[in-house]
Subunit: 323 residues, 2 copies
Amino acid sequence: MSAEDRLIARFFAPLATDPGALGLSDDAAFVTPPQGCDLVLKTDAIIGGVHFFADDAADLVARKALRVNLSDLAAKGAKPLGFLLSLALPKDTGEDWLTAFARGLRADAELFGCPLFGGDTDRTPGPITVSIAMFGSVPDGRMVRRAGARPGDRIFVSGTIGDAAFGLALRRGADWRLSAAQRDHLAERYLLPQPRNALAEAVRLHASAAMDVSDGLAGDLAKLARVSGVAARVEAAQVPLSDAARAVLAAEPGLIETALSGGDDYEVVCTVPPGQVEAFRSAAKAAAVTVTDIGEISRGAGTSFLGGDGKSLAFKQASFSHF
Amino acid sequence: MSAEDRLIARFFAPLATDPGALGLSDDAAFVTPPQGCDLVLKTDAIIGGVHFFADDAADLVARKALRVNLSDLAAKGAKPLGFLLSLALPKDTGEDWLTAFARGLRADAELFGCPLFGGDTDRTPGPITVSIAMFGSVPDGRMVRRAGARPGDRIFVSGTIGDAAFGLALRRGADWRLSAAQRDHLAERYLLPQPRNALAEAVRLHASAAMDVSDGLAGDLAKLARVSGVAARVEAAQVPLSDAARAVLAAEPGLIETALSGGDDYEVVCTVPPGQVEAFRSAAKAAAVTVTDIGEISRGAGTSFLGGDGKSLAFKQASFSHF
């Protein structure tokens, strides 16, 4: 057995619980798509020093890598089926790191019903690179798209916005004299996204368009509006904020731009036709996911965030980019 | 539009020819699996300085990244449907590189009927890392596995073995006084694998077990035999070699080990029940892929390569590993 085979057998084969994964003993895996379903496909990678800090706990790195992909499936109304893992590791990656990484991966694979189907492990002279390709299912033709928002639709967002961007700023040394609980909340929201897969069915049944908020609400909503051929208008005061984020903004009001255009929220933004709003709210409540009406879609083009004075907020940069 | 969005729109959206890819304008893609088919899933990455040289032409890097995955689909009897691309690029990656990379990717996506469904592009402080997740289809339950070889089955291999390992040795400075044509042949076989997707249907209809030869024939066949619970015996003299590889072995006979255990062949090794041998040969001929009977499966365990004297060859390392 090669070193790679031993590593796979020890750390990753236990996660390959689906019969189609063949215990990772084959060249490839197979999946029988549920009857009458499309598969939804997504890939996203995270890289040490770019998307996470080199000293982040390995189990959290694994869970983040899965969750950024799970978040896309949630926004598309899809149910996760499984994932492929492509892992590039520096030579000095130790067993402790791998043990913790596999533990985190397994915890979330179980939590989200999303087993490992296959993978590839390589040495790299660069940083740890974790690339996930995830697949899920939706009834034929029912993947919720970005294009689909119509004038009159209400704009909803799940959870709270801006926490992760403030959590990242804290990691980088920002200090707003927060309580320990507030600091912990923001730090945690950056370290470990909470993808809204519980909301997927509500989105699929009631939303006209949706996407996950990963590069900042302002920029992501602008993409949705552009590809839908409509304008979006958000009441900034309606954007849901955590207590901790409110404390940051109380200390430094100008950071509203960071909240609205920072990245890593992993919430869902979607548009809901007026006739579906009550059903959507009920379904979200049944799924125990908080959703907030933040604005309206109208004819035209452009995305604006209105302040308390009714004037548009101006952003230097609508969208965060690692690129 | 962010820099990443512009890059995607310019270089990669033209490759996203399937309607389910939504022109790469959405968070995810969808695919409607062919009626009565399983999807076959595979991921494999190639990394600069590990799997290819930093100065390899970008179009060949792209094609190699696709082809190492296509080769697995061929061995599993699957028809390619499409792929996801996760690309990590150093900051100094220029437009020329990207233009050539996208050109190579497109050429092979068209050649193998395998369009781009989605992707992710990131900056990395490390080397260029190209991770592909590929999916294909087979009739329900008919993916050809490694496990399945039975005593009495004949062992077949496609194409020729050892060329790529010798091509790599040439790149590293080996000199066997070959002709220019021989050198070019070996160099080309290392640079650009020729996956045997044309053979996929013959394998699916007639093979009891199969895998692609990517880590050396000796080590890969040993994996197939082990998971099938059988022994494999190969007549070393029957292993198909190119004229160029024969010239290398004439100069340095000890390199038979490199031929049989080096990597990057991207041929198919499969086992065929005696009653299927003629049909398999005919189907391979119709597909214009050369296949060679190299030995037999028997009861027991272990994989041996017999020399002209009937004795087993002894290998220092049965399988090549980048790990």
